[in-house]
């Protein structure tokens, strides 16, 4: 192959541009271009450059993060598929596996929020059903700029509308949203979409092009000029104006995706498929090269057979288009006819575009020319790996910032009113169908973790989706650890045992040392915490270059932790808290303010949070699960952002009851604010009937501190200390502030 003349390739190039300019266009640096020439022993064609540019983009190659990701614990007795495939898979017994992943669609959602978010949902759903699994729940994590920013309502309504339009039509419940606002997202909003599905263990499919002479089928929607070079765009920062970097926007078609799902699952069921991969970032290119590489095979593809929306598309356009709702399948020649029948039944395109070869070479033919001749392994395994600089030293832990910080409760309540991140999300979640599927046991906004029945199984999964950019900014490692600990506690409040983690690392430019430092420490923290709880990380996504004009976003690690509940009839909900229920606090008392929402913006730099202890979390989680499964606990809120105060407000809002508390049992008078606002210790607020307290206290004995704080009662929220009223407010006033302002705020803009 090496002796093939360069000339025959360069005739296909646009002669007005130099090779270097082509390389730049493909998002490659000059060093990378030289590396290609060295590897190939020749000058690549324009199509080849486009292909390599996409495959070597940060988005597809993980060139900055791969080295660090290798520290994550990815195996375990229940892990069926870890990172590396379209999604991770966990054995849940009874012959079934759950398949899940979270994926970012940040850049597209900033340029066109509706379509960007919609296609993000489409992409993650395809990642799940390419594995053979039927998706049964969706969730999302959204970050927007500061509320006063003019574009925020437009972006929020666009993103929410896009997710709603895609998920609702596709017919999978969207069961949870985690939404926050911060000025660092002014120029880079975040859209992370999570999906989970279920499959018979032995029916999991992989993205491998195995079996020489097997046919390669293109199925789904036609190819248009959508999002050409989107992967490269997603690997760059926004400069002045996002408009200058606009490929044709990809438009999602959930109607086609739903048909594609049914057609694929039918094809899988009839055992007609050898390997399959969706066409996501870098479209046909990525699926061809990854499928060939995973099976160490080659592929011979004829682009003349690819179904097109516009017949004038070039080979370059076809290879790099990111048109949605498409899949590449490798199948035995004898099954082609039946597959065509299936896809035709659903009104979808199904084209035979080539075959698997034994020589490891990807050959692409278009209109009488061979336009590509590359070894898949050569391109993928030789993708650059960068050891981006970072500071390895971890900021010292533990510096008390109790003294000198003075917050009174009334001020904190006032500040929550203005912090939209703390608001009730019904405005958003009511736009998502969260009932379809008859499986939603505990849905959005009524508990910390949702609980969803696994279709065709007695079991259920509990999901917790968390992120805390401000805390990760202060201390990325401890911030990441706490997210996993918090999520583990949250799923335990539904009686579920943590079984797997997926994560999305949303960061600024890795070429920026502080960003790379945070990225490295966040991964290390995640690895430590996941290891200490023995919960594997089975899938994830990295989204870098989220910065505008040199301003990176907060280090936003999104953690979605999946728990498995064997007895889904036992669960907690805020609304299960009843008049005269006891309010009980489980866990240690905080002794400083680090990371507390109430003071976080005023913290001096260099402060660091106290490290939480993994063994203590395991112990707390076990007690919570026991308490829920023994029907002792009706309602629970893990104390997180906004401290104990916000947990109290959530329970009052969910139950419609006031609360009467005396905090003398947990703190001296002058530390009331600390007890209410600090987020520095793992704590869980519970509501339970009086007569069950003793049984729970018994479970906690010598393991975890437990304190009764008061009871749910009446119309007033009163905080006392040794009988003296410190703060009181009508519960309706508090609840109204908590429940409505997101909607009002949007309406008023």
């Amino acid at each position: 192959m090496k002796d093939k003349t360069i000339a025959s390739f360069s005739t296909l190039s646009d002669l007005s541009l130099t090779h270097e300019q082509h390389a730049h266009e493909a998002g490659l640096s000059l060093e990378e271009y030289d590396r290609i020439k060295r590897l190939l022993g020749r000058v690549p064609s324009k199509v080849e450059l486009g292909i390599i540019g996409a495959m070597w983009s940060e988005h597809c190659s993980y060139k900055s993060s791969r080295a660090h990701l290798s520290k994550l614990p990815v195996s375990g007795p229940q892990v069926l598929v870890g990172p590396g495939e379209n999604a991770g898979a966990i054995d849940i017994g009874d012959g079934l596996a759950i398949v899940f992943k979270i994926e970012s669609h940040n850049h597209p959602s900033f340029i066109e929020p509706f379509q960007g978010a919609a296609t993000g949902v489409g992409g993650i759903l395809r990642d799940i059903f390419t594995m053979g699994a039927r998706p049964f729940a969706l969730a999302n994590l959204l970050r927007f700029g500061k509320p006063s920013q003019k574009r925020v309502p437009f972006l929020l309504n666009g993103v929410v509308g896009g997710i709603a339009s895609y998920g609702n039509c596709f017919g999978v419940p969207t069961v949870m949203s985690n939404v926050d606002f911060h000025e660092s997202y002014d120029g880079n909003n975040l859209v992370n979409a999570f999906a989970i599905g279920v499959v018979q263990k032995e029916d999991i499919f992989f993205g491998r092009a195995s079996g020489v002479k097997n046919r390669v089928l293109y199925v789904g929607a036609k190819t248009g000029r959508d999002g050409i070079m989107g992967a490269v765009m997603a690997s760059d920062t926004f400069m002045e104006d996002a408009k200058s970097k606009r490929p044709t926007v990809q438009v999602g078609d959930p109607f086609i995706e739903k048909l594609l799902l049914e057609a694929c699952l039918l094809a899988f069921k009839e055992k007609l498929v050898v390997g399959v991969q969706d066409m996501g970032a870098a479209g046909l290119t990525c699926s061809i090269f990854e499928m060939a590489n995973r099976a160490s095979t080659g592929l011979a593809i004829n682009l003349d057979h690819v179904p097109l929306r516009d017949e004038t598309m070039t080979a370059y356009d076809i290879m790099l288009s990111e048109s949605q709702e498409r899949m590449l399948m490798v199948v035995a020649p004898k099954d082609v006819a039946r597959l065509k029948q299936i896809f035709e039944h659903f009104g979808l395109d199904c084209a035979d575009i080539g075959h698997v070869s034994g020589d490891g070479i990807v050959r692409i033919h278009h209109k009488g020319h061979d336009v590509v001749e590359l070894s898949a392994t050569l391109i993928i395994e030789n993708a650059p790996r960068y050891r981006r600089s970072y500071i390895s030293e971890i900021p010292a832990l533990r510096q008390s910032i109790k003294d000198g910080v003075n917050v009174d409760v009334a001020t904190a309540v006032e500040s929550f009113k203005n912090d939209l991140g703390q608001k009730d999300l019904t405005y958003i979640t009511s736009q998502f169908d969260h009932h379809i599927g008859l499986a939603t046991i505990v849905g959005p906004n009524v508990a910390d973790a949702v609980l969803i029945k696994v279709p065709n199984s007695r079991k259920a999964v509990a999901l917790s989706l968390v992120s805390h950019g401000k805390l990760c900014k202060i201390h990325a490692m401890e911030g990441a650890r706490r997210l996993i600990f918090q999520a583990a506690l949250e799923v335990s409040t539904q009686g579920a045992e943590p079984v797997g983690i997926t994560n999305c690392l949303n960061f600024g430019s890795p070429e920026n040392v502080p960003v790379m430092t945070d990225l490295k420490h966040a991964i290390d923290g995640m690895a430590q915490a996941a290891t200490s709880l023995s919960v594997p990380v089975v899938s994830g996504n990295v989204s870098l270059y989220n910065e505008t004009k040199g301003q990176p976003i907060l280090p936003t690690l999104a953690i979605c932790l999946v728990g498995l509940a064997d007895t889904p009839s036992c669960y907690t909900k805020f609304s299960r808290a009843k008049e005269n229920h006891r309010l009980v606090l489980l866990g240690e008392l905080p002794d400083d303010y680090t990371g507390a929402e109430a003071v976080i913006d005023e913290l001096p730099s260099g402060m660091s949070p106290k490290p939480w202890d993994g063994d203590f979390i395991l112990c707390m989680a076990a007690i919570l699960r026991r308490g829920v499964l023994d029907d002792l606990i009706d309602c629970a809120s893990v104390v997180g952002r906004g401290g104990l105060l916000l947990s109290l407000i959530k329970i009052m809002a969910g139950s419609g009851l006031g609360a009467d508390l005396d905090l003398a049992s947990i703190c001296p008078r002058d530390e009331l604010s600390l007890a209410l606002l600090s987020e520095d210790a793992p704590r869980v607020l519970l509501a339970m009937s009086e007569d069950k307290f003793a049984a729970l206290a018994k479970l906690c004995e010598n393991l975890v501190p437990i304190n009764a704080l008061g009871r749910l009662h009446g119309d007033e929220f009163a905080i006392k200390h040794q009988g003296q009223i410190i703060f009181s407010e009508q519960k309706n006033v508090l609840i109204a502030n908590f429940a409505t302002s997101l909607e009002e705020y949007l309406a008023s803009h």
């Binding site: 248009g224 044709t248 438009v251």
Partner: protein, 84 residues
């Protein structure tokens, strides 16, 4: 007396129009076999009160057509003015 302006918003040529694809299929099924393409857009009919300034209206409408009535990332627009 009153003045009407019609803004026609259409999906850009290279952008997928799923509604158009679905409608085309049905029209072909119903016998319109010669159809090459179907695209769906929007019309926004704006009626003014008699006493406004037509010139001022037009320039304002152009401005809002660009950033409010259409989404320039995926759509084009055209203005049709029409006295009654």
């Amino acid at each position: 007396m009153s003045k009407k302006t019609r803004v026609v918003v259409t999906v850009k040529k290279d952008v997928l129009d799923p509604a158009g694809v679905a409608i085309k299929k049905e029209l072909v099924r119903q016998g319109l076999v010669d159809i090459a393409d179907v695209r769906v857009g929007k019309v926004i009919d704006i009626t003014f009160r008699h006493n406004g300034d037509p010139q001022k209206h037009l320039s304002l409408i152009k401005a809002v057509s660009h950033n409010l009535l259409s989404n320039p990332v995926v759509e084009d627009f055209a203005l049709i003015s029409d006295d009654e």
